[in-house]
Symmetry: C2
């Protein structure tokens, strides 16, 4: 109302003054910040691919990493990060990714939503390594114990393919030593994390129902009273839902280790089981943005000696655009 009243005031008897005031306003508002596009930025801090951190994201941007782009119709928040840069304490993958300031336990829950399109994933890597050519676009991350990840939402596309896949991983909250940890992966559209090439340059078949670069999709992560409800939607694709307890393990016995894990991690000796109460009572938080899974070590992605400009020119980066996103309290799940 105030804004409208002021502007209406300019319709009065002094058009000259009105015009000059209007241009001043326009000039001052030339920069559109990520917080103008998605107003929840006050609830996050950020770590970017060159190691820059910020805890005050209102009216904040950083060239080449975190800024607003317009595709002709819509403003989007861009998260961009190279294959090699500065990483966090617990990872060898770079990220330009929001980290939620509020923390929570599965019992109190929380909800994260996002509508996004992936613009780019690394074009180099080792096709036989799961994390090649992929980017994580949303997470639940534990802040206690092993600091494992109950949820990572991936987008991945093999070189030469038009369509990529969306899948999500659940990492067990390992009983005892975390060396036995593993991720159980579920396909949303296309393949999952365990579907890899038989060699460095041998790719699985392109998924018919996959998601292309520049194709919009949405996710909702609703954690309510210890249960995680996932919903994935995209125009022209089937809506896919999952339900997973975060407080009662499905994998607490050796006999419960899924075949997918026996075929992959277990061959490398990673065959742990999960504590019976999974992530119950453990402090977690959401992440959202671009967490590049292509690095120069495990995935053999090109990194150009860590030169970020060169990586950006040569396709050694991940870039994800979000147009809408929310974070807040978990909600009673809708009846099916």
């Amino acid at each position: 109302m105030t804004v409208l009243a002021l502007a209406m005031g300019n319709c009065g008897n002094n058009p000259k003054k009105s015009n000059s005031e209007d241009s001043k306003v326009l000039t001052e508002n030339t920069v559109v910040y990520p917080s103008d596009v998605i107003p929840f930025m006050d609830k996050w801090k950020i770590l970017m691919g060159d190691g820059t951190r910020s805890e005050d994201l209102v009216n904040y941007e950083k060239k080449d990493f975190f800024y607003v782009a317009n595709d002709g119709n819509t403003n989007w928040v861009v998260y961009k990060t190279p294959n090699a840069g500065v990483t966090s304490r617990t990872s060898s993958n770079t990220r330009t990714e929001l980290g939620e300031k509020a923390h929570w336990i599965p019992e109190t829950g929380g909800k994260l939503t996002g509508t996004l399109k992936v613009k780019h994933v690394s074009t180099t890597g080792d096709a036989s390594v799961s994390s090649s050519y992929s980017v994580v676009v949303g997470q639940i991350h534990s802040d206690e114990g092993h600091e494992n990840e109950p949820l990572k939402i991936f987008y991945k596309k093999f070189p030469g393919h038009t369509k990529g896949a969306v899948f999500w991983n659940y990492e067990i909250n390992t009983e005892g030593d975390n060396a036995g940890r593993w991720d159980y992966s579920s396909a949303v559209w296309g393949y999952d994390f365990s579907d890899v090439g038989t060699g460095e340059t041998t790719y699985p078949e392109e998924p018919e129902d996959g998601i292309a670069l520049n194709e919009e999709f949405s996710y909702e992560v609703n954690v309510y009273k210890g249960i995680m409800y996932l919903t994935f939607t995209s125009e022209g694709h089937e809506t896919i839902k999952f339900t997973k307890s975060l407080v009662k393990s499905d994998f607490s016995k050796k006999t419960e280790i899924p075949q997918q894990i026996l075929n992959t991690y277990a061959l490398r000796g990673r065959d742990g089981v999960e504590r019976d109460t999974a992530y119950a009572g453990e402090i977690n938080y959401f992440k959202q943005g671009a967490y590049n899974q292509a690095n120069g070590k495990s995935t053999k992605s090109e990194i150009y000696d860590g030169d970020i400009a060169k990586q950006y020119v040569n396709g050694s980066y991940a870039e994800v655009w979000f147009k809408e996103a929310t974070v807040g309290a978990g909600t009673i799940p809708a009846e099916e």
Copy 2:
């Protein structure tokens, strides 16, 4: 920007159309909702003094309980509730009070702020009963175990006094049976909960540094890593701060029961101790508004057979106005 651009468009060559559009907008916006004044309403549900509940408070109001009033300068959100009405499951006091949708544990924390003025408290009651003539304007409430209250912020004013008091109560998370529970009260400005009259109509001295009806004050409740940091400010009054652990009890041994409690609750057999870890790991949430502490039973306040209109006309109600408030993640406390 969009709003401004549209309004600027109305400054053009068609004043007739412009005017009619403007009046349409103005008409549509005649009702100012609480969510227009304090934009955090999407994070709350409400229970009102007549038992009405709502979980969708955006563009919502309810006459006589939850609405916007203007004092000539500023829009305020009004929370009004009679001495007798419909109460919640766990209380015999009525409330028109927000309840936070998000829940949290002390270790993950949270932050609630408010700037308010109390317009009215019950003018009848028993001066020898602590809760007479008082209203709770902010709370932390547990949602587990005993469902006790780590924090209640009170305003109280005895009949005939100009100035009232602001104080806060910490309720122990009782070890074992909750029948032994008690509230430890700390004065902010004026007396505390334990300072009562010697008889039904005998009042303590009016506090010199007290807060009058219609006098603004602010509180900040910041729970960070298990510690509760309280800050109370009011123009012309000393700023008062408190720090209290919510995860390590100060009252876990009989010898630690404060003299205030021995003088009051213990005389009635309520002399419990607190579990050593206090509220650690227990799910809590914030409340804000008017939780009327004057009821017809313990405080002998007039209730006019529960007739709300009669109670409102005859001073048997609490009314609290908030002009600003926030809720969100706990923050690193400022260095002293």
